[in-house]
């Protein structure tokens, strides 16, 4: 159902970036959601908790800092390394008739909390591309899997985001 030119992107790596988890960025993230949990900003409170330090809300994985201007201020998961693979997939999808993209949703598995001061490595790959006929005509579901590891190279979380191309 999917064109071979699209399917050949399945399994390819699209990203490998380092994200620093800084207290200020955790606070800004929590404030934007209107979180009320002191674990996200009250150092004294967080030190007495079982975590021993400020943690990030599940779903926040820090901010890429070692990138040139222009790359830094976008979603960390939109930063591609090398950029050619993700761009190539988008071009192949557009040629196959899928020119628009929607954020379909996400799933997470969490293994340990993300702590202030951590540096995470986010490795992303194109996990799957599936064609489907839906209400809005033909669609392609692209699953991007990102594995986040801490400084000790222990996985802290896996995210699987669904982008719907139509």
């Amino acid at each position: 159902m999917l064109a071979d030119e699209v399917a050949e992107f399945i399994g390819k790596s699209i990203g490998n970036i380092a994200c620093e988890v800084e207290k200020g960025s955790i606070k800004r993230f929590a404030d934007a959601v209107e979180e009320t949990n002191p674990l996200y900003w009250d150092e004294e409170y967080a030190e007495k908790s079982r975590h021993g330090s400020i943690i990030a809300p599940p779903g926040f994985f820090g901010w890429p800092v070692k990138l040139p201007p222009g790359l830094t201020f976008q979603r960390p998961t939109d930063i591609f390394d090398p950029p050619e693979v993700a761009e190539g997939m988008r071009i192949a999808l557009a040629k196959a008739g899928y020119a628009n993209v929607l954020d379909g949703g996400i799933e997470y598995e969490f293994f340990q909390p993300v702590k202030a001061g951590d540096t995470l490595t986010a490795k992303s790959m194109i996990k799957d591309i599936r064609g489907r006929e839906g209400k809005m005509g033909k669609m392609a579901f692209v699953i991007i899997e990102t594995v986040y590891c801490n400084k000790k190279d222990e996985p802290v979380a896996i995210a699987r985001a669904t982008a719907i191309y139509l």
């Binding site: 934007a32 949990n37 599940p58 969490f110």
Partner: protein
């Protein structure tokens, strides 16, 4: 913080305390800055109209974080969120601002959840939940699921 909930306190069909949220244009701008998602679809009315969605829409990932908060508030500090999933099925539109800090009258969203399963695996006390966001009309725009480990009195 609310009192800690224990695994023994919940049964299947137990309802989580709803978490009300009000999306505003101001909140979407804050979210753009905090998440790095600067798609003008979420803050530029003319752009949103030009790409065919009518007016700016709430970021799916912001709705995701509302549902994460629903779970982490409920499970308490001794709880652990293990799995989480949600899908963005319908568009939501933020309230415009009446003053620099307060929104116009309008829609309030409710984040809700219900226990679907409780079980013990490898000595850990798990609870699975269905979770969702209802818009002002009571329609589900963002359904999902979550799995937490709760502390046990046992």
């Amino acid at each position: 913080m609310a009192k800690q909930i224990y695994w023994e306190d919940v049964d299947v069909n137990h309802e989580l305390p709803p978490l009300p949220k009000i999306a505003t244009t101001r909140m979407l701008v804050k979210w753009a800055g905090a998440s790095g998602d600067f798609n003008p679809l979420h803050y530029d009315a003319a752009f949103a109209a030009a790409v065919g969605v009518g007016s700016p829409i709430v970021h799916g990932a912001l709705k995701r974080q509302w549902l994460v908060q629903l779970m982490t508030d409920w499970m308490g500090e001794q709880g652990t969120l293990k799995k989480f999933a949600c899908s963005y099925r319908a568009m939501d539109r933020p309230r415009k601002m009446a003053t620099t800090a307060t929104p116009e009258e309008g829609e309030t969203w409710q984040c809700k959840g219900k226990v679907t399963k409780k079980y013990i695996d490898d000595g850990q006390h798990y609870v699975d939940c269905d979770i969702w966001i209802e818009n002002g009309k009571g329609e589900v725009t963002t359904p999902g699921t979550a799995t937490v480990i709760l502390p046990s009195r046992g």
